[in-house]
């Protein structure tokens, strides 16, 4: 059982004078798949980045707790898996080299079995030793899921998880999202109806703007 608790308290984000959203509050305390939706420019990606501790809110705070203990922002990266179209892997390395380097930088052992099994789930096993720069955009997107899952995170943040994916890629991603949603919190930011159909609860961002 994953006792993760994610909450936002009065989050406001402005870029210069431009208000993105204001006084946003939510609590995700049960394992499951949560959706963030809204029109283009409503701040879905911004909110996902704030939840992931990549950028700071203009005011308010995000609380991450595991087993009722706060996770401080310095250690947040060890607990979350993140996938986004703007996340870029090292193109001069192969998938294997990328994830081996990343595991070592995280300070964990590179789990070859888990790597091979995830590569198989995401239909990339036969390309594991090829340089990432030779991958198609869909293959790069699938590799990001493997990156997000390799350290067995406690929470998954997915920004437009199926961008650039073909039908087979989408199917493999949906299968994994459903599986992960059973024992952890998965947050999806998307406008794709098929992505949002997976979600138990949806947060619509237009509702939080003045």
């Amino acid at each position: 059982m994953n006792n993760y608790y994610l909450a936002a308290e009065q989050i406001t984000k402005k870029f210069g004078r431009r208000l993105i959203f204001k006084d946003l509050n939510f609590k995700f305390q049960k394992n499951g798949i949560y959706g963030i939706t809204g029109i283009n420019g409503s701040g879905k990606s911004t909110l996902i980045k704030i939840i992931g501790g990549i950028i700071s809110p203009s005011s308010g705070k995000v609380i991450h707790q595991f087993n009722k203990e706060n996770i401080n922002s310095e250690n947040l990266h060890d607990n979350l898996g993140f996938v986004a179209p703007y996340l870029i892997m090292y193109e001069e390395f192969s998938a294997w080299e990328n994830l081996e380097h990343i595991s070592k930088i995280r300070g964990i052992n590179f789990n070859t079995e888990l790597f091979n099994s995830l590569m198989e789930d995401f239909l990339l096993l036969d390309r594991k030793n090829d340089l990432v720069k030779t991958y198609s955009s869909g293959m790069k997107q699938r590799l990001k899921f493997i990156f997000a899952l390799m350290h067995s995170p406690k929470i998954l943040l997915l920004d437009e998880p199926t961008s650039n994916l073909d039908d087979a890629g989408k199917e493999s991603v949906y299968k994994i999202i459903k599986r992960e949603g059973q024992d952890k919190i998965v947050v999806i930011a998307s406008n794709e109806n098929s992505d949002l159909d997976l979600c138990d609860i949806k947060l619509k961002l237009q509702d939080f703007k003045l």
């Binding site: 310095e74 990266h77 993140f82 870029i88 090292y90 390395f93 380097h101 070592k104």
Partner: protein, 219 residues
């Protein structure tokens, strides 16, 4: 171990792409050639050769050391680093990479310089080695934090030397002075004040870098 893993990643990346090493090698060759051609058959005063050595070192550092962070920003992999390591791990890893690059670069420059300029004669080798060691550490620390600051900016190429000059000026001045002392054969006791200034510069730069880096790295 985590900073070392980041260093190894950068090292492997450098072996594949050769961004920093190629630009450094080209710059060292070009800078030394320009100095040689401009001097021609003239006899260079001995104290000037020490200064010229640091001119080559300063501009070579400007051409290659910013790669530590600029390469991550250019390739769009900064977010990936955010997601896998603490800011202190990232700074330590990049600093380790720059330290090794600075030492290798300056060893090559000094050896080439000694071979090409017969007026460059060091009489107090221990003093020169200490100066070389402390100055390289200072140069690596300062270039790493400046690279982190300018990596977010638009005109990185121009901003790096402009921002580096005032920050590195005390280091370069003291290094030139100590190099000139070691060429004159001055004793350690007489050069103690300058050595302590160099040590203080390194301590201040390192402390300021650790305090600043969290703010630079986030947002």
């Amino acid at each position: 171990m985590k900073p070392y893993a980041l260093f190894k990643k950068d090292y492997h990346s450098e072996l594949r792409t050769r961004y920093a090493v190629n630009s450094l090698a080209m710059f060292i060759i070009v800078a030394l050639s320009v100095i040689l051609f401009s001097i021609g058959n003239e006899k260079v005063p001995q104290n000037l050769t020490g200064g010229l050595l640091w001119v080559v070192i300063f501009f070579s550092a400007m051409s290659g050391l910013s790669r530590a962070f600029v390469a991550e920003e250019d390739r769009g992999t900064t977010l990936l680093l955010h997601l896998i390591a603490k800011p202190s791990t990232i700074f330590n890893g990049k600093l380790l990479f720059n330290l090794i690059l600075v030492f290798l670069m300056n060893i090559v420059i000094t050896l080439l310089y000694s071979a090409l300029f017969e007026e460059f004669i060091i009489r107090n080798i221990l003093l020169f080695l200490l100066t070389f060691f402390l100055s390289n550490i200072g140069l690596a620390i300062a270039s790493t934090i400046i690279a982190a600051i300018i990596s977010k900016a638009g005109a990185k190429g121009t901003l790096y030397p402009v921002l580096s000059f005032p920050i590195l000026l005390p280091l370069i001045l003291i290094s030139v002075m100590l190099t000139s002392y070691s060429m004159l054969g001055t004793s350690f006791d007489q050069a103690l004040v300058e050595i302590m200034v160099l040590v203080c510069y390194n301590v201040i730069m390192l402390t300021a870098s650790y305090m600043l880096f969290d703010f630079i790295w986030k947002d």
